[in-house]
Symmetry: none
Subunit: 252 residues, 2 copies
């Protein structure tokens, strides 16, 4: 196999339309294309990327599915207002990693300390009222933009171990699994709509009182014991839940 071929292959590994989409994503993220701006028309774009209309359209389709752009028949293609969608049927992690969506996800550790739990947390973790819990506060960044604020509450015994791990690098689940042998098999999640408090708003870089999702999740290990209580705040303008419904049998 010649060097040229090998090279072509390596480049060719990522389909053309993915690379085009990536280029456009960068233009949008980089600010070269502001929200609401109109892109060049499809024929122009196709020409400038030296591909067919169909190929270009595949790239646009990707971006549209990510809600980065919207296309309007007869009018043009526009940069959409920023927001992230979550398909609840895919049962990935609501509160956690969105990396499956191809975005650049980072986590910033805001704090880790022992503290007194509020009542909901104590109840969820089945702890006595005056116990102390280990609180882990993390900010999730998607493309360098704060996406969610996550507070994880751990029972004291587990907290003692976790506190030694490098949480800026290692996901909490991995610490639990590989260092403590705790595997989470089940979780119960409750999502409500709330207004952000001052502290949460500050960390998330938005205004107090803004609408947000609040997700509370209790994770259990194989033995059924509660292991983690997560409370996550996600500003309402950055997130959406979507579902596909099928009413096969009963039309009730």
């Amino acid at each position: 196999m010649s060097g040229v071929t090998a090279n072509a292959k390596r480049i060719g590994r990522v389909p053309r339309y993915h690379r085009i989409a990536e280029t456009l994503r960068e233009r949008i993220r980089g600010g070269a294309l502001a929200p609401g701006a109109r892109l060049d028309n499809q024929r122009e774009l196709a020409k400038s990327f030296a591909v067919t209309l169909m190929t270009l359209r595949q790239a646009l389709e990707l971006l549209e599915r990510e809600h980065l752009i919207t296309r309007r028949h007869g009018l043009g293609t526009f940069v959409a207002a920023p927001s992230i969608d979550y398909d609840i049927l895919q049962l990935r992690r609501f509160a956690g990693d969105l990396s499956a969506k191809g975005e650049h996800v980072a986590t910033r550790l805001l704090g880790a300390r022992f503290a007194a739990p509020d009542r909901r947390v104590a109840e969820a973790l089945r702890l006595p009222a005056r116990a102390r819990v280990f609180v882990l506060e993390r900010l999730r960044l998607v493309d360098d933009h704060p996406m969610s604020l996550q507070r994880s509450f751990l029972p004291p015994l587990i907290g003692d171990e976790v506190v030694r791990a490098d949480l800026a690098r290692t996901p909490l689940h991995q610490v639990l699994e590989f260092k403590l042998g705790v595997v989470i098999v089940r979780a119960h999640e409750t999502v409500s709509a709330v207004r952000l408090g001052r502290r949460e708003a500050r960390d998330l870089g938005c205004h107090a009182g803004e609408a947000a999702f609040e997700s509370e999740r209790i994770s259990h290990d194989a033995g059924g014991a509660p292991v983690v209580f997560d409370r996550v705040f996600i500003p309402g303008d950055r997130f959406r839940i979507t579902r596909e419904l099928h009413y096969e049998g009963a039309t009730s």
Copy 2:
């Protein structure tokens, strides 16, 4: 314009790949294709529908986005396992009837009129920008307490019929089904967190600016045509979404 042309046009209104997707949907729903079954390969399917590979693939893309099929490179295209159970449960309580919970549920009709749709509505119902839609505004009461405000938008032709029904008594779905023969088989729902506007807050008996869920749902009939667009507001203090998660296999 000749009759033939007019007819062809009317039929041609629905793109070929939408009709193909609909045919496949029926095969899946009808049981001709059981979950896990492999579909004919794409070239075969294209031939049997007398279209190009590209066109067929557009149809498959639709179905994949609805989670009705999954495609696996090198292996084939398969009917997806129905992950519906969870869905149906949720559906009831969401935008509509909470009666399953044993509460006393009532509906108050606030208004019914023709109006100009906003863009999201027009797009969802695939109407031209200047069309008019029939708007139905209803308040759901649980134990005499306002629970949700629901605005339903219907295409003009359907609205003409619905306007004659006694909507204070008859559920909209029944009107559609028994008077118009329209059965809703599929819907797409998007939930976001917003702050209530003044009007919505007044109708719901709470304060403007309060946090709320906003659910937008597009319902489709058996032919795949959008039939109703629902926009529902539920104050955040009156409602929660809950889910039970199981991470059996992959701990990913």
